[in-house]
Amino acid sequence: MILNSVLPEASTYAADIDRLFDVITLLVGVPFLIASFLFFSFIFRFKKREGTPAKYITGTEHQYMKWIHRAHVPILLFDVIIVVMAVNVWYDVKQDLPEANSTVRVIAQQWAWTFVHPGPDNVLDTADDIVTINELHVAKDTLYHYKLEALDVLHDFSVPAFRLKQDAIPGRVITGWFEPTLAGEFGIQCAEICGIGHGLMPARLIVEDRAQHAAWIAENSPLSVAAGVEDESASERTRLAAR
């Protein structure tokens, strides 16, 4: 409700995270409003008036303390709700690794993203892999694993429209998943400071429906390029690689 008014939900779990955000907003917003109301009403009600001395309250009296103690019941209850929801979403996104339809490799370095897409054979690390710089192509409604690597320092693969974020650590390959649900072009940011070019790592994420994506794969696979299939997107790819 709140988040998707400023940013589209483009993955299967984006809506879950947005719902969690809404619930938290409600569960902390209501106590906040009550506390603020009490706070301001006390300030104005107990403004100094001549002839009305302040009360002497130590804060150990049961009649006053009970209100403080009672307030903990909803707070604990809200905490439990938030924890349960948060852990559920977390499990889904980060702990669980559903079976993938395809796998992409994401390599971060100072200061560019390299994306390795499997070619027409849909197997990574074969001769027909498509390598792009700062541009990731994925198909809609397809479950992807990403294998995240860093070559030099820490980076962070962040796709706000997917509500996805994961640090990349040199020397490690971190596997996670996403499933795009919305076709279009979205932004990718680096979310871990990585040197003076940290602000210069914008990459594009292009989600197409399956047929279009398959066509893109077919056109850009190095094997088909080598076979002499020259077209706009291939030269586009060269241009991107040169950048």
């Binding site: 969690l20 938290i24 001395p53 009360k55 403080i68 903990h72 929801m85 852990v87 650590i169 932004g187």
Partner: protein, 571 residues
């Protein structure tokens, strides 16, 4: 004046009360007197705050008006930008919040509030300031070395911070970690002084529950600091060796582990938030009780919640690392512990609001600051829940939402809390009253722009804007016109807020020179420092140290005629 202890000089030396014999340098440059050391910390901290504020101005101008020639700085290059945000964060926490809230108020208030003539180790105290000053000079000097100041964020995650070929600031990185390590040593020395002074040197009759809340809080904060900083100090040495000797503690290419630094850093970093929070909370307790003429609601409750928060703060550090590549199962544990912190903090806030109930409130400048602290910190507190919830943090981590959240905690702590304390104890420190109208003008011109800076940043963060990026024009999703409008609103508010601080400095200088005399106890407060002369002379009570007969917050007591009952007045 209730007095049972005659003045005696431990070595029969005429040093006490004999400050007329001290040379200028003994009194002002190398002082042993706790009040003068407190002033050194206070004004060094304020000077660093001006620098930190100027850095914020420089990089906020770049964000609002990308590429412009920022007046007073010039064009902000990417390297400049990183150095500015890194130094802003480091300076505001280590060289502003800590020296002012812990060292300045701790040094000034602890001996005065517990009825002692000085800290127990005056020379350790002086050494602590000198090391601190050295660390401040090093961090500022790092801007002028080859490669410039360190730009790897105040968290200094390796390998960026350890390898010069990646950070491009070989010397700057080492100067940063050296400065931070020296600052830690300074505060370890200071902390030992605060803790032992409060434990051992209390006035006769002052029992545990008679200690004013601010003293308690500074002591608890010092203990928290002492127990959390050690691993990071060790980590700092390891980092320095990685940078300069070529070891590989944090280098994954040669068998090291970069995540280890994150654990060491946040094991300190999270308790550190409470290290600076607690003194501010203590200041607010003292100010609120005085200006509402109320006893603090639930003295022991406040104390227990502070201790509870402190203990819990050691168990939550990995909520800063949810998406950092730690074992994802760990996130579940840390979500639970993090949300548990809401219980003691909420209790503390309730107790403070309850203290207002039935009061007789006057809105002097210090009280406005204290009330603002509660309200603004409440916002900072509740927005933390969003980030502690692991599932939501996948999205929120490292966005401006985080940035806005912790500015809503640190700003009330370091700025609002400091102004509350400074305006409250100014009459004691300088013997003059501050101009209340100017104080209120300064208050409103600080508080309103503060909210206008950071409320827009919550929105930008929710829209997916990440931190530490020097120009959002490179990101189509982040360069929409309404976003740039919000950035400009934040920057212009910042400029207004920084400009408003001139009112404060004018007020301080004007009041110091020509304000009306304050007298011993202008606020009619009951704690011991108000029984000393304003400003207190060397030795604090040359006529003899006070004795304590009751708790610190006996306001409007039914058995007492006046609405305050000084701690040193015999029953």
């Amino acid at each position: 004046m209730a007095e049972s202890i005659p003045v005696e000089h431990a070595d029969g030396h005429a040093d006490h009360g004999g400050h007329h014999e001290m040379s200028f340098s003994e009194k002002y440059i190398f002082p042993l007197d706790h009040k003068m050391i407190a002033m050194q910390y206070m004004f060094t901290g304020m000077f660093m705050a001006v620098i930190g504020g100027f850095f914020a101005y420089a990089f906020r101008m770049q964000l609002a008006f990308p590429g412009i020639n920022v007046p007073g700085w010039g064009v902000v290059t990417p390297a400049d930008y990183n150095a500015l945000v890194t130094s802003h964060g480091s300076i505001m926490i280590f060289w502003v919040a800590m020296p002012v809230l812990i060292a300045a108020f701790g040094n000034y208030l602890i001996p005065l509030m517990i009825g002692a003539d000085d800290m127990v180790f005056p020379r350790v105290n002086r050494l602590s300031y000198q090391i601190f000053l050295l660390s401040a000079i090093i961090i500022l000097a790092s801007f002028f070395v080859e490669g410039g100041a360190f730009g790897g964020a105040w968290t200094a995650y390796p390998p960026l911070s350890t390898k010069a070929e990646y950070s491009l600031t070989g010397i700057g990185s080492t100067m940063w970690i050296l400065a931070v390590a020296l600052e830690f040593v300074a505060f370890l020395l200071g902390g030992i002084n605060f803790i032992t002074t409060a434990m051992n040197s209390r006035a006769p009759g002052m029992k545990m529950w008679d200690i004013p809340m601010v003293v308690w809080m500074i002591v608890i904060a010092s203990i928290l600091f002492m127990l959390s900083v050690g691993p990071l100090l060790a980590g700092g040495i390891m980092m320095m060796f990685d940078q300069q000797l070529g070891t590989a503690f944090f280098d994954p290419d040669r068998g090291g582990d970069p995540i280890l630094w994150q654990h060491l850093f946040w094991f300190f970093g999270h308790p550190e938030v409470y290290v600076v929070l607690l003194p501010a909370v203590g200041i607010v307790a003292d100010v609120m009780t005085v200006f509402s003429r109320k006893k603090l609601f639930g003295y022991k409750t406040v104390l227990y919640t502070a201790i509870g928060t402190g203990v819990l703060s050691f168990t939550v550090w990995a909520h800063h690392q949810f998406v950092a590549g730690i074992d994802p199962r760990m996130a579940n544990v840390f979500t639970v512990t993090t949300l548990l912190i809401s219980v003691p903090i909420a209790e503390m806030m309730f107790v403070y609001i309850a203290t207002l109930y039935g009061g007789s409130i006057t809105f002097k400048t210090p009280m406005l600051w204290a009330l603002a602290f509660i309200f603004e910190f409440l916002i900072g507190g509740i927005t933390g829940i969003f980030l502690g919830a692991s599932g939501n943090d996948i999205y929120m981590h490292d966005t401006y939402f985080v940035l806005a959240h912790f500015h809503y905690t640190f700003y009330p702590i370091a700025i609002i809390g400091t102004f509350a304390g400074f305006t409250h104890w100014f009459p004691k420190m300088f013997g003059k009253m501050m101009n209340d109208n100017l104080g209120k003008l300064h208050f409103w011109l600080t508080i309103i722009p503060f909210n206008l800076i950071f409320l827009p940043l919550f929105v930008l963060g929710a829209a997916g804007q990440h931190r530490r990026i020097y120009d959002y024009q490179n990101f189509p999703e982040l360069s929409l016109p309404w976003m740039q409008d919000l950035r400009q609103l934040a920057t212009i508010s910042l400029c207004v807020m920084l400009g408003a601080q001139l009112i404060f400095f004018y007020n301080v200088i004007k009041s110091w020179m020509s304000g009306p005399a304050a007298g011993k106890n202008p606020w009619r407060a009951s704690t011991l420092e108000w029984t000393a002369a304003s400003p207190p002379p060397h030795g604090n009570w040359p006529e003899g140290l006070p004795t304590c007969y009751r708790g610190p917050y006996e306001y409007s007591h039914p058995d007492h005629e006046e609405d305050y009952w000084p701690q040193n007045e015999p029953a």
